[in-house]
Symmetry: C2
Subunit: 240 residues, 2 copies
Amino acid sequence: MSLEIWDLAGADDNVRFSPYCWRIHYALAHKGLTATSHPWRFTDKDTIAFSGQGTVPVLRDGSTVISDSSHIADYLDDIYPDRPLLMDSAQARALCSFIKQWTQITLSPIVMRTIMPELFAAIADKDKAYFRESREARLGRKLEEFAAPLDITRAEMKSALHPLRLTLGSGETPNQLYLSGATPGYADYIVMGHFMWARCVSQQDLLLEGDPVYAWRERMLDLYDGLGRKAPRYTGGAGS
Amino acid sequence: MSLEIWDLAGADDNVRFSPYCWRIHYALAHKGLTATSHPWRFTDKDTIAFSGQGTVPVLRDGSTVISDSSHIADYLDDIYPDRPLLMDSAQARALCSFIKQWTQITLSPIVMRTIMPELFAAIADKDKAYFRESREARLGRKLEEFAAPLDITRAEMKSALHPLRLTLGSGETPNQLYLSGATPGYADYIVMGHFMWARCVSQQDLLLEGDPVYAWRERMLDLYDGLGRKAPRYTGGAGS
């Protein structure tokens, strides 16, 4: 097998911050697969035109091309069923759809508001106009108006994460170290993608020590020989 | 086998409205099991003292006694594995813990605020003092102050249900008629319990036609020969 992944990079080739690509970095590690990684920018639409669409992650496995993180996760379990499953049943797949929507609706805006200044600074210069235009159209306001200070977003995040906090730390399910159970699975990678998004571009931390979600994130950072912990980070701040 | 369940009833023996008991009514139907049902009131602590705690549902299966809806669901899958599984894998069980916490934190207060006047009217007279005292201590305010009108709670519910709405109706997962996938499972029963709670005591409807969650609830009401749809309802209104 010969796997390739197209992965969003910042101005620095080594800074990879897409939450959706991070789901797949973790998914590949979970399955013991390695892929040649191609740094990609928002405006590099031509280089992934072969995928029939314009966003990453894109995975090429020999002659097969798959885009969309959910489709890629399903594909990896379907084609490599003898390697550890990301989702261990039909219900687990269906419930991961809910986790994905919950993450997107509940967590994603809070993370984005927190990291926006640093995120904008971290992306490649050639991407900045596209990023501003597309995101401002989606958000209905200027990036600067969407951004919010950490004291506000941290409180929002504390509230938003409460179902996850009780799942991991209520004592009702003491063996549940991960959202997926005693061991991590794709549901964990879905949520962790958003924490990696923040970590790879921002110095601000939405979580406080003592929170069961903080302890979970520490465990996640340690997985696969520190895959998340060792990832290069943008450290330039919000720039000018 | 000889199954018995202790089930919260209102002033009317036939009105059974506990969301946690409804999870188990659906779970038993899913597994093709029937149980002798005992109407129980909040103040009937003595009659379930054999369970070692004071809330329902309580299930007795021969000489085995299980309380807590989650434990009962696990038990039913563990002891009757050849009947349709409520949760089809270890990950599905773990993700149901999250669905349970999400339902409790996100949906439960909204339902409770909506139905409070009718709920209080529907419960047995002998339970009213206990219910008021215990709930007001938990809520930190009078029941009447906690209650809220439907126009407010319906808007809150619309927002709270958005992850479920997109899971069921985004078109991303067209075969996902249920939270659990193409067919219903325990995750659906967890959420449906709260809609049955509302349905069995209240004339107010938190959902509007056209909402994918409304269509899901219709499917849920039809399951198992209309188990939910046929359930007796309190129709006396908020009383005096």
